[in-house]
Symmetry: C2
Subunit: 375 residues, 2 copies
């Protein structure tokens, strides 16, 4: 029996469990609480910055993987020294742990991306600003950001004085994009690669709110290019498992890499229902060295809408009673305003119909959340 240990107990780890049950894999979770979203299965409570604790967890499994990118490099290297198999590898993960490393490595590979520069308080010069096209531009904390946290649109140096006091900041060109895309794919240790159709994502305040799959009315050349780009990144960096490449489609017809994630990703949730193989199953297969599954679609279109705050049983009930064909995924997280608490997927051959269904269903679930006095 293949035993997979997952560092992180969030919804991404949670959603690997159904796939593991089908595959017959033993999955266990290393999380900061016994009440984590993924604590449906055996959970070790610990601190992922503590090498000894992670090593002890890793002893019982064949391969360790991740539901987030925040494990420090010294812990990853310590695991390798301890004989633990890590997928993806520490060298691959270095790019998502620190976004300034990602920019440097992607530049080295010749991957198209926004103009960027790393600044400190003493190097925040007019030249640095001009290198990313002037103000306004994007500032990112290189380490630790997620879901819009650690990202700011800035109009002057003073907008990030607090960050500059802490360390280097990544500045990026404010790209003139028509929309954002995300290319999901997976690579296994044998070199097999499989990609899903590139999707369109919508963000609200830096957080993914909706995904349309495949990206509607996309130039077929760009669809091919985004797959090729993802494959090149995965192969060049040896990213075993699922890789999400977030892209800008620019007004002048280019694809620029915005972010990378080396794990299942919010933008890929739609493929649990839409594709023969979900990103969670594919990730487990890849990190365990299995052959990859088919990424064919089972219907023409899919829509995913995120649910924020909480998913109450009453809200889900009401939405299901109107739309028996949708799927509501409830992460069972404690309610908190703005928190990703679940998502809804609808798939079918009529895009506008499933979009309407998903959005109305999300409204129904949301109304119940606010009715319960969380806002």
């Amino acid at each position: 029996m293949v035993r997979v240990g997952i560092i992180g107990g969030g919804q991404l780890a949670r959603m690997m469990i159904p796939a593991a049950i089908t595959l017959g894999f033993d999955v266990r979770v290393f999380a900061d609480s016994e009440d984590s979203s993924a604590s449906v299965v055996k959970t070790t409570v610990g601190d992922y910055t503590n090498l000894q604790e992670v090593l002890a967890f890793a002893e019982g499994v064949d391969v360790v993987t991740f539901d987030h990118e925040h494990v420090p490099r010294h812990v990853l290297l310590g695991l390798i020294d301890g004989g633990v198999t890590l997928n993806p590898s520490p060298d691959a993960l270095a790019l998502t742990f620190d976004k300034s490393v990602m920019r440097q490595v992607l530049s080295h590979l010749g991957i198209p991306q926004p103009r960027w520069v790393i600044v400190r308080s003493d190097t925040f010069t007019q030249g640095a600003i001009e290198a990313v096209g002037g103000f306004p531009c994007i500032a990112k904390k290189p380490i630790g950001g997620y879901d819009g946290k650690g990202v700011r649109l800035i109009a002057s140096e003073s907008d990030i004085m607090d960050w500059l006091d802490e360390g280097p900041v990544l500045l990026e060109e404010k790209v003139d994009f028509v929309r954002e895309l995300s290319q999901l794919s997976a690579l296994n240790p044998n070199g097999d690669w499989a990609g899903w159709d590139v999707v369109q994502t919508s963000q609200v305040e830096g957080v993914c709110s909706e995904v349309f799959a495949p990206a509607p009315n996309l130039d077929p050349r760009m669809a091919r290019d985004s797959r090729a780009l993802a494959r090149r990144i995965a192969e060049a960096l040896g990213v075993i498992g699922v890789l999400a490449v977030e892209l800008f489609e620019t007004r002048d017809g280019r694809l620029l890499v915005n972010e990378l994630a080396m794990r299942p990703h919010n933008s890929g949730h739609v493929y649990t229902e839409l594709s023969v193989t979900s990103q969670f199953e594919q990730h487990l297969r890849a990190v365990a060295g299995y052959c990859l599954g088919s990424t064919e679609k089972r219907a023409m279109h899919g829509v995913m809408v995120n649910l924020f705050g909480a998913v109450s049983d009453e809200g889900a009930q009401s939405a299901y009673s109107m739309y028996p064909e949708i799927k509501i995924h409830n992460y069972q997280k404690s309610p908190r305003r703005g928190r990703k608490a679940g998502h809804i997927v609808a798939v079918g051959d009529d895009f506008s119909q499933i979009l309407t269904e998903c959005r109305r269903a999300a409204e129904i679930v949301g109304v119940h959340y606010y009715d319960e006095g969380h806002e």
Copy 2:
């Protein structure tokens, strides 16, 4: 959060877990071992014939359901007396606990079924034999049988002398059938009912080996009749949850009820991939009082082939490498000759292609089993 307790730790309980994770239900299992197939989640080890143990388990959940029909009636009634919600109800379960009760109740409802008679050693008369059309006929132990166990084709009284010593035996007409069908459906406490397309099943030595969905080339009238029959049984008996009605399609164009199961059933596994809503999700939704999900198909056809003995990682790997579009479900049971260890599903619009894929994949997995010296 809806909390569902499942009595029984087999593969049916195991396969409810992925659905529970998506729905955000808390499921826990009452099983005879911590190593049961379903012990992926919190498992209480106990004896389902011991009321006190089952009562203690039930304290922590909102509703109790089952992955088998062997819980004695006094335990079920004791749970009801203890204020536990049971779905399906003890009165419904009485029919699957004791097949002679099923025959009597279905006769009372006017449901078409094979001719039957209950005999004891002192009532095993020529008249009894003639009532079921003479020898050869089918003999069934009323209680405790499954997967062909407790069922015999008999040519004389001496073939079941051992059973008659133990108690009454159910004799049934040996039906002249062209094939066996199974109608899966679900009913919730609000009276909502939903059925999947009736499937064709093949048995080898009384054990399901293959399922074709929907039943190929079935007269549309019979497809309607089988749904109507299932609905009538579910509603008349108030069977909350999934109900499987196993049917004979006779040479003279009738449908006769062979067996009932009030839980997810081997013949419904194909709908995990083929339908919008799996039987496991539907069962949980129904027993928890949720609205039912859509039973629409996502492709034209589905094939399921059971895997016996064991599913090795190597066998699954080999099969996956040839057929990336199939799904192999590994129940993680300890290897034993003849034991249901998993199943394979393929879905698509070309029936003969998916049938070939499934059968070849099953052969590949089987070869690995026998290579490992289990035979």
